[in-house]
Symmetry: C2
Subunit: 601 residues, 2 copies
Amino acid sequence: SVQGQAGWGSEQPGLVEDFNSFVTRTNTCGELRSAHVGQKVTLYGWVQYQRQGLFLVLRDFQGLTQIIIPQDEAHSHVKELLSNAPVESVVRVTGIVSSRPLGQENPKMPTGDIEVKAETAEILNSCKKLPFEIKDFIKKSEALRMQYRYLDLRSFRLQSNLRLRSQMVMRMREYLCNLHGFVDVETPTLFKRTPGGAKEFLVPSREAGKFYSLPQSPQQFKQLLMVGGLDRYFQVARCYRDEGSRPDRQPEFTQIDIEMSFVDRAGIQRLIEGLLQHSWPEERALIMTPFPSMTYEEALAEYGTDKPDTRFGMKIMDIGDVLRGSDIHFVQNALSYPHGSIKAICIPQGVVSDEIMQIICRPDGRLKSLLTKFLGEKEQSELIRALNMQEDDVVLLAAGEHKQCSALGALRLFSASLLEAAGLALRDPTAFHFLWVVDFPLFLPKAKNPTELESAHHPFTAPHPSDASLLYSDPTKVRSQHYDLVLNGNEVGGGSIRIHSAEQQRFVLEKVLKEDSEVLSHLIEALEFGAPPHGGIALGLDRLISLIVDAPSIRDVIAFPKSFRGRDLMGSAPDYVTPEELEPYHIQVSWPLEEKEAKKN
Amino acid sequence: SVQGQAGWGSEQPGLVEDFNSFVTRTNTCGELRSAHVGQKVTLYGWVQYQRQGLFLVLRDFQGLTQIIIPQDEAHSHVKELLSNAPVESVVRVTGIVSSRPLGQENPKMPTGDIEVKAETAEILNSCKKLPFEIKDFIKKSEALRMQYRYLDLRSFRLQSNLRLRSQMVMRMREYLCNLHGFVDVETPTLFKRTPGGAKEFLVPSREAGKFYSLPQSPQQFKQLLMVGGLDRYFQVARCYRDEGSRPDRQPEFTQIDIEMSFVDRAGIQRLIEGLLQHSWPEERALIMTPFPSMTYEEALAEYGTDKPDTRFGMKIMDIGDVLRGSDIHFVQNALSYPHGSIKAICIPQGVVSDEIMQIICRPDGRLKSLLTKFLGEKEQSELIRALNMQEDDVVLLAAGEHKQCSALGALRLFSASLLEAAGLALRDPTAFHFLWVVDFPLFLPKAKNPTELESAHHPFTAPHPSDASLLYSDPTKVRSQHYDLVLNGNEVGGGSIRIHSAEQQRFVLEKVLKEDSEVLSHLIEALEFGAPPHGGIALGLDRLISLIVDAPSIRDVIAFPKSFRGRDLMGSAPDYVTPEELEPYHIQVSWPLEEKEAKKN
C-alpha cells in the first residue's frame, strides 16, 4: 500500500490530508487500526481477491482491508453479492471494525490487526474478465500495459510514483512561491518557430500558410518576463520536442522552469540546492549541499563525459608519461600528434567480468596483457603505481589525438554495469550524487561542418566574465556562464546567465552563429528597453522523478506516456482526420508515393 | 507599488517570502522604512524619473524608493551617471538610508519616510527612447501594448494581476494537495480528435495523414485516472480551443481541473466552496458559503439566462394573469399559444435612462405608456402591485410563445448598465455573488436540426438519479447531474457526475446522440473494468481571476495574451514556414485560389 505518503506534503507539523472529506466513506482501505475496533465504517474499493465466500480483501490507493463476509441467514444477500463479485469490481461495504482472532493478525499489513465484518454491501461496477492478472501486469509487454493504462495505474508502483511526483512538485512550489517570492507565470505554448527549431511541432492556423509552433521551452518568454520586471519567475512548464522515434524521450515533457533578475551563477546554484533539499522525499537518502562542482574540462578529462556518474571512481588517468619510453607502436604514434595522449581506466576487480580486458594485475603483482611483452619491469611497476592497481584489477587503455576521451567514458560506465551484473557492489543504489558541471565552452564546432560554430547551450547564454573580450577576437576560446546539474550520471538540469545587452546578443547571432536575427528581433529589441541582468535554469522533471523512484523509464512517472514511436496506445493517437477537417487550416496531406499508388488501385 | 502582497500567500503565520535571497541586493524598492535609517543598502531597479540631477526614484516590483544624488566633488562620477540615466534604465545603487528632511515625508508612499543617499551606482542596462510614456501606456491602443508587452508588464496593474493569480493558484494547490489529498497529475496535450472536436487544433505527426489534436480539456484522461484508482485528481490544465476570431477568448486557456471518485453533486459543491474560500484574496470582500443554488428552469424563468447576475433584482415576472382581460392584441395573441406568456421586468428608477421605456410609473401612481389606453384602472393597479412598481420605475413587457425569455434577460442586463451609466448604484462593484445552477437538461435539441439531440454539457454526464429510467423512454425530459458555477453573471465553472456504466454510456452515444462510439472505445471499455462512480468540475481560471481583479478582459490576467485574431503581436505568431519544414509532416499548404493566382503573376 501507499503508506509512504502519510504526514508528507505539508509544511505544517501535525497536518494530515483528509482523504475522506466530501464523500460518504468513513475511511480509506489503508487507515483502520486497532483503535478503530467497534466503529461502524463505510469503505469503497476494488476487490483484490475473495476466498470461498468467507472473506475478501478490498483495495484502494491507501492500502488493503480484509472484509469478513457474513454467513448468517439474515445477511444471505450480502454473502451472495460479495461471493460473486469478480476480482477488480468496485464495491461499497459497510460494517463493524473488529480485532482479528488471536494468531491471525498480519504484521506485514498496516491494517493487519483488524478486519471489517460486512453488514451491507453494494457492487458499484462489476469488472469483466481481465485480459491478464493485475499482479502479474508488470511482467506483461509494455505495449499491453500502455493499452490498458487505467489498469496499470492501479498498481502500487504507479500509484506511488505519481503521488511522490505530485508531492515533490508541491514542495518545490512552496519553496519557490511561499519562501522566496517567485511568481508562477503561465506562458504560451502556441508560438512561432525559433531559429534552429527543427524539432518543434507545428500547429496549422486558420490563416493560409501560417503555423504556430509548440516551443521546446519557455526560454524567450521567461527572459521577456525579466525585462518586464517580474523579478522571479517559475513555471512547471509543458514543453514539446519532435524527435521522431527515440527511446525514453517523450514528445511532450515537463520542466521546472526558473528565471531570476540580478543573479549570478552561484545564486542559481544555491537556489536549486535549497529547492531540492526542501522538496526531497523524506524516505530517500538525504542529500547534502552545496553540491560538488566540476569544470567541463575536468569532467571530460576525468570521466570522458560532461555528465559524470560520480558514485564510483575509475577515473580516466593520463599515462602518457609512463609509456613514453615503451616500444609500443600505437602509443608512440598517438604521442606524436599535437594533442596525442594515452589514457587509461583501472577497473577494480575487473577480472570478474571477462568480457573486456586489456591489462590484468596478477596476484603476484605482475601484469597479464598482450602488451606486457612491450613493457619493461620499470614501466610495469610505474603503471601499477600510477593507476594504483590491485590484484585482479583490469586496465583499459586508449591512445589518440583528442583531449577528451568519450570512448573510455563509455567503457567506464559499461564496465561498472558488468561488474555489478557480476555481483560486485560498486554504486550504492540508494545514493544520490548531485554534481554541477560549469565553465562549458560558449560555442562548439558544428558536427557536420567544424569550421562553423554553434551554441553549446543556446544563443542567449552569456560569456564568462573573464572571457568576454575574447568573444570578439577568438570566440572558440570563450567559456560560458552555462551550468548543468547532473545526478548519478544523468543530466537533470541546465541553465545559464543570459546575455542582457542587445549589442552583444546581435553580435553572437549574426557574427558568430551567422543566424538570421530577424526572427528574434522582438527579444533583441527588448534588451534595449531596460533589461536587467538575469539568469535561470530548467530541471527535467520526468527524468528527475524517475531517478528518485529508481524507475527504468520516464514512462513510469508519467500517467499517460507515449510509446517509442510517439503513439498513445490506449486512445490510438495520432489518428487520421478527414480532408474536410483539414480544410479550415488550408493544408492537405502529401501522401508518400507508394500510398498514393495503393489508393488508386 | 505592489504592497498588497505582503504577508500573503502562505499558511504559516509570520512567514514572509524572502525576496532578497540568492542575490546581492539587500532590499527591494518597496521595503525600506524609518527602522532602516543608517543602514547601508544595495538596491536594483528601473529609473522611474529623475529630477535636475538632484534625486531620482527607483522602481521595482515591490515599490518606489527615492534616491538622493550626491552633489559633492568626490562623487561627481556618480552624479554624472545618475543624472544622465534615461528613464526606464536599470540601475544598481548603493547608499545609506536616511530620514527625509522634516516636512518632506510622503505619507502616500510606503517608503515615504526615507530616502537613500547614493554612494555608488552602476547603469546595468540603458533604456533607449521609449515609443510612449510608460505611465500613459494604459491609454494606448491595445495592439501597441501587446507589441511591447514587456513594457506593459512593468505596470502596477499587470504586476499586481499576475502576482495575485500566482498566489491564488498556490492557495488552491495547498487546499487540494495538502488539506484534501488530491494528486496533481499531468495529462497529455497531444491526443486525438474527439467526436464533435471541430474546435480542436491539429498537430501533424511524422506518420503520413495522422494528426494529434490539442484537447479542449483533460476530460477523458481525468475519467481514466478515476478508473485507475487515483481517487482524487487535480491539475492546473492548459486547454486549447480553436474558435477563430472571438473577442475575449484565447486559443489556449487554463482551467482548474478536478475529478473525484465516490462523490455526488453536493460533495463537489462543498469542495469548490471550500476551495474558493481558502484561496480568496484577503483584500477582497469575503465570500460566504454555501453558495446559493438555483435550477436551470428557475434561472431561465426569473433571469432569462442560465448564468444569472444575482447582484441585483429586476427579476422577470409572469404578468399573464394581470393582462389576460385586456384588449391588447399582441397580449391576447401570445396567450392563445400553448406556451404563450406575458413576462415583464420592472426597472427601478428606469426613467433616468430614457433610451428604453415602455411603462413608466408616474409620481401620482398613474402609468404612462402607449399601452395605458388599453388598460383599465383595475388592471393598472394590479400591474403596479404585481410588479411592486415605485415612482419613476419602468416596466418592459415581452409577449411570446416560449417559457424562457432570453430577450428580457438581455434587456435586464442592458438596463442595469444604462442605469449605472446614469449614476445609479445598482450593483456593488466590490461584491462577489456566486451561484450554483443545477438540474440542467441532459440533452437539448440541436440548433440546426431540432429533431436531433445534443448533450447540454458533454456526452459523459450522468442523468439525474430520479430521471434515469426516462433516458430510455423520453430522453428530452431527462435532467442531468450537470452543475454550473456562476459569478456575477459569468460562468466560471462547470462539471457533472459522470456516467460510469459502459452500457449507459454506449446507449447515450449510439442511441441518443447517434454518434460513432468507436473513437471512444477505450473509454467505454474502461467502464467495464471496475470503474468507480465519479464526478468533477473545471473552473475557468482566466475568467475567474479577471473578475476578482475587476479587469475588463482576460488578456489583463495573462502574461502573453493573443489578439482577437489569435495572434501574438510581440513575436508575430503564427508565421509562415518553408515547404521543407512541412515535408517531415507530409503536408502542404492549399493556398486559396486568389493567393495562388497572385503568386503566378
